[in-house]
């Protein structure tokens, strides 16, 4: 269970950061029913998500927090990022369960129907399945290395 320790201790400080998303989203709470029916991403939500994605080189939208994932797929994704040695300073997780606007909005933004979703340098990489198979094939290690987001080897 080495990886679990690694994931939770290494990634813990980062889950504080979702607050960046909150001002925008809570301002929009009143309009939520309309937005959900329209299924159209408001420009405010889009801007908030733009910012969220740009807030770190590695950004994961997940259910729950890195230390307490609320879904097996989110848990698996966090574990893989921990195993790969992603630098906590370069990682931010956003809990979509804390914000229904984000939860719906990110699906439309990415044109991807499920959570978790991983972004790397503002680019959508994929969900849990894609992350897993990139992990197994070695492609994930390669791309993380290229992006320079791993903890430096000592």
């Amino acid at each position: 269970m080495f990886f679990r320790t690694l994931a939770s201790s290494a990634l813990r400080p980062l889950c504080q950061q979702p607050r960046a998303f909150q001002p925008t989203s809570s301002a929009f709470k009143l309009m939520l029913p309309t937005i959900l029916h329209a299924r159209n991403l408001s420009s405010e939500t889009r801007t908030a998500i733009d910012k969220a994605i740009a807030s770190a080189p590695v950004v994961l939208f997940m259910k729950g927090t890195p230390e307490t994932p609320q879904c097996g797929f989110s848990r698996a994704s966090i574990q893989v990022l921990g195993l790969q040695g992603v630098d906590p300073k370069k990682f931010v997780a956003f809990n979509v369960l804390e914000d229904s606007e984000l939860r719906q909005g990110i699906k439309e933004y990415s044109d991807w129907p499920t959570i978790p979703q991983l972004y790397l340098d503002n680019e959508f990489i994929g969900g849990c399945d894609i992350l897993m198979s990139m992990h197994q094939s070695g492609d994930l290690a390669k791309i993380l290395e290229e992006k320079g987001v791993l903890v430096a080897a000592e």
């Binding site: 797929f73 499920t114 994929g126 399945d129 894609i130």
Partner: protein, 88 residues
Amino acid sequence: MADTPGVTADSLKLKLIDQLQAQHVEIEDLSGGCGQAFQAVIVSPQFEKKTMLARHRLVNSALKAEIAAIHAWTPKCYTPEQWQALQG
């Protein structure tokens, strides 16, 4: 959610065969009957020369309404050649 028609393995399979010309589809209902979690093996010539992300997007767009109604969707997308090779 009340008016969402129930998603079944069969309904998913038919749609994939119809829309992606899938040659082989295996759908496993992992939900224990509630229709919320599915795992799928999809073999289609349309996956040829596409990245995994693009393949998943293709499947997601074919099953947009269904995926929106379920919790967990785990597709594995292969081209006919890849699938052959896997059968060894």
